[in-house]
């Protein structure tokens, strides 16, 4: 038990674009099964109505349901953690990093898209997290 490589895998979830997470989630579940680790989905929202939910309460419920669904499919313990912040567009990366540290996650598995024009000026979330955090980050493309 003591030589388990990973115990707790964190996966950032964009609730508005869940369809883009497939590969990253599969990867996280496979790794969790391999190392007998547990998974926590982390999502960030604001108090205002958004694409994914009308309010934080509904958002939390949706994320929890999503986690339960994944846990049942993969047979891996999956928890959900929602953080409500004022300005998700600017502070998403910092909020994710903080949550992963508070949760004591030892590996982050996250989806990223192929860097495009915008990434030359504004960093992508995965890029920021991978280069600024002291955690291990597994960036899954595609």
């Amino acid at each position: 038990m003591t030589d388990k490589l990973y115990r707790h895998i964190g996966v950032p979830v964009d609730m508005a674009h869940r369809e883009k997470l497939g590969k990253a989630l599969t990867t996280a579940m496979e790794l969790a099964r391999c190392y007998d680790a547990r998974v926590t989905l982390v999502a960030v929202t604001s108090p205002a109505p958004g694409e994914a939910a009308h309010n934080p309460k509904e958002f939390r419920a949706k994320l929890a349901a999503f986690a339960a669904e994944l846990a049942e499919d993969a047979g891996v313990p999956v928890d959900a953690q929602t953080e409500v912040i004022g300005d998700p567009a600017a502070d998403l990366d910092k909020a994710l990093d903080r949550q992963f540290h508070e949760l004591g996650v030892d590996l982050v598995v996250m989806a990223s898209h192929v860097p495009g024009f915008r990434e030359y000026i504004f960093h992508s979330n995965a890029g920021f997290l991978a280069s600024h955090t002291d955690l291990s980050v597994f960036v899954v493309r595609g």
Partner: protein
């Protein structure tokens, strides 16, 4: 398409007599958005706003003289033709707020019955200030009381010194207390209620849902949102114009730099760059830090002036001015049979239109920080607290300046009013007190930082408005609006200066005034329905409990 259980509003296995929530929509935030190049904005609100702004900036920069002439004629036309509209609307908004406070709908809680406040009263009020009105208090605190002293409103000439002072202060307070905050209160409350209680997107059109129904997601809504964007941009550009004028005036006064054209343009460019940095740092890393530090700095400056100025007179005057304000309020807010057209048109009507133009911006900000308060609490605090702070601030600076004039015979401030150099009033006033260079420096710094926070929060709000209510749209869009706010400021400085800025604020204030009148009706309908819904729910729960009890 969408399952109604998803939206958090129950349906399905309810009893038949359950009250129906008629102001619930299946509309989803961002459903009309497009995502070119990884951006995310509303179609067509973004396109219309962006193209109109680009065309406007290009036209004004290409034909500055023509633009200056047009805008120069626009302002007197609007203030003389529509003075009754602005004056009446201002009074209606105040009366409507009082009605909401005393009527039973006042107990509806924003964010639902269980919502808890996110911010303390103190940080709530300081954010209200820093959002946009900061530059105004720096520009007008000395200027306005002295102007009304020299040219008394209501045609009241030959008053005693005491009465003259009171009238000048009452007239100043009239423009900065209660009325503006009632306007912001209505817009903020309407936005907050329909977003946090009804789950509609945080955009102005949502506040019209009870009037337009589902059509609000179509063209009537597009028009309303585009109007809100324009009002915000031009209302803010006016504020920025004041900031540029005053900081250029201050710098030339302090360091002898010529107060030229290039200086003002350079200031706008430098500030835009600083605002961009603040934009990239986000709400907590940018605006919040800057506005908190600015509030502290402003408080220090106010306290310093209070102490080196006529401290006891000022403290007494705070009460007297409040009383005088209420005494003159009926006469000042009436527009029928007035003969003091200079005061009513150049000051009151202009202010009212400026506050209206500013209301979507300040309203969005208030809405975002006011969940968990009841309607009554929200209106009482957001109207009375800033009004009181304004009375104190204006009294500190106004009383000081009047004492300099009456007791010491100092003409420095009065000369800036007579010679149309309003940007220098504050600095000539501070020059009479110790540490003038330091306090003037702080004054300039305050103006510049208020300038940065206004641009940053303005870009944030316009971005949300053009992204269909999304507050997590890519930062690149805020950068776009921030840059164009700076460009509008530059274009209008080129095409006629401050009077053009004011004309545009007036021109956007007029249609948006109509929007707020409609919004008031809509808000009342929404609140009344909500109250009925809550009461019916409470009744149903009580009945269920009773039935339970009987069974047991």
């Amino acid at each position: 398409m969408q399952q109604s259980t998803d939206s958090g509003h129950q349906s399905g296995d309810e009893p038949v007599d359950e009250p129906v929530d008629e102001y619930v929509s299946d509309f989803e935030v961002g459903q009309d958005n497009v995502q070119p190049f990884g951006l995310d904005f509303h179609q067509p609100v973004f396109a219309i706003s962006a193209i109109a702004v680009i065309v406007f900036v290009a036209f004004t920069l290409a034909f500055p003289q023509l633009a200056a002439n047009w805008f120069g004629d626009l302002r007197p036309w609007l203030t003389t033709k529509f003075d009754f509209f602005f004056m009446a609307a201002g009074n209606i908004f105040v009366l409507f707020c009082i009605a909401l406070i005393v009527l039973p709908v006042g107990k509806v809680r924003i964010g639902g019955p269980d919502a808890e406040p996110m911010y303390s009263y103190a940080s709530w009020v300081s954010m209200l200030f820093a959002a946009g009105i900061g530059i105004g208090i720096m520009f007008y605190a000395v200027l306005e009381p002295m102007n009304h002293l020299l040219t008394p409103p209501l045609g009241m000439e030959n008053l005693s010194e005491e009465a003259q002072r009171e009238l000048a202060m009452a007239a100043t307070v009239f423009h900065w207390a209660i009325h503006p905050w009632a306007i912001y209160g209505i817009v903020g409350l309407a936005l907050a209620f329909f977003a946090y209680n009804k789950g509609l997107p945080l955009i102005v059109r949502s506040a019209m849902y009870p009037i337009f129904g589902e059509r609000v997601w179509g063209w009537p809504g597009h028009v309303i949102d585009v109007l809100a964007v324009f009002a915000t941009l031009f209302g803010l550009a006016t504020s920025l114009g004041y900031g540029a004028e005053q900081s250029a005036g201050g710098l030339s006064y302090l360091f002898g730099i010529s107060e030229g054209h290039m200086v003002k343009l350079t200031i706008i460019v430098v500030i835009t760059i600083m605002a961009l940095i603040s934009v990239l740092r986000g709400l907590d890393g940018g605006i919040k830090i800057l506005s908190e530090s600015n509030m502290i700095m402003a408080a220090v400056l106010g306290l310093f002036v209070l102490l080196v100025g006529p401290t006891l007179t000022t403290l007494g005057a705070i009460f007297d001015n409040t009383v005088a304000y209420f005494r003159y309020l009926p006469a000042l807010s009436n527009w029928v049979g007035r003969e003091d057209m200079y005061f009513m048109h150049d000051w009151t009507t202009f202010y009212w239109s400026w506050w209206i133009a500013f209301s979507p911006f300040v309203g969005m900000f208030i809405a975002r920080i006011s969940t968990g308060r009841t309607v009554r609490e929200f209106l009482l605090v957001s109207i009375l607290a800033p009004s009181f702070i304004f009375i104190v601030w204006m009294t500190i600076f106004g009383t000081g300046a009047m004492d300099q004039y009456f007791l010491r015979g100092y003409e420095g401030v009065v000369d800036t009013v007579r010679n149309f150099q309003p940007e220098l009033s504050l600095f000539m006033f501070l020059a009479e007190y110790p540490l003038a260079t330091l306090t003037s420096g702080i004054g300039i710094l305050l103006v510049l930082i208020f300038f940065v926070t206004s641009m940053d929060s303005g870009a944030l709000v316009v971005d949300t408005m053009t992204a269909g209510g999304k507050i997590d749209a890519p930062i690149a869009q805020r950068v776009f609006w921030c840059v164009f706010l700076g460009l509008i400021g530059i274009a209008l400085m080129e095409g006629g200066g401050l009077s053009s800025l004011q004309a545009l604020a007036l021109a956007t204030g007029f249609p948006f005034g109509i929007v707020i009148l409609l919004m008031s009706v809509s808000l009342y309908k929404g609140l009344a329905a909500e109250l009925q819904l809550l009461e019916a729910q409470a009744e149903a729960e009580a009945e269920a409990e009773q039935a339970e009890g009987e069974r047991a």
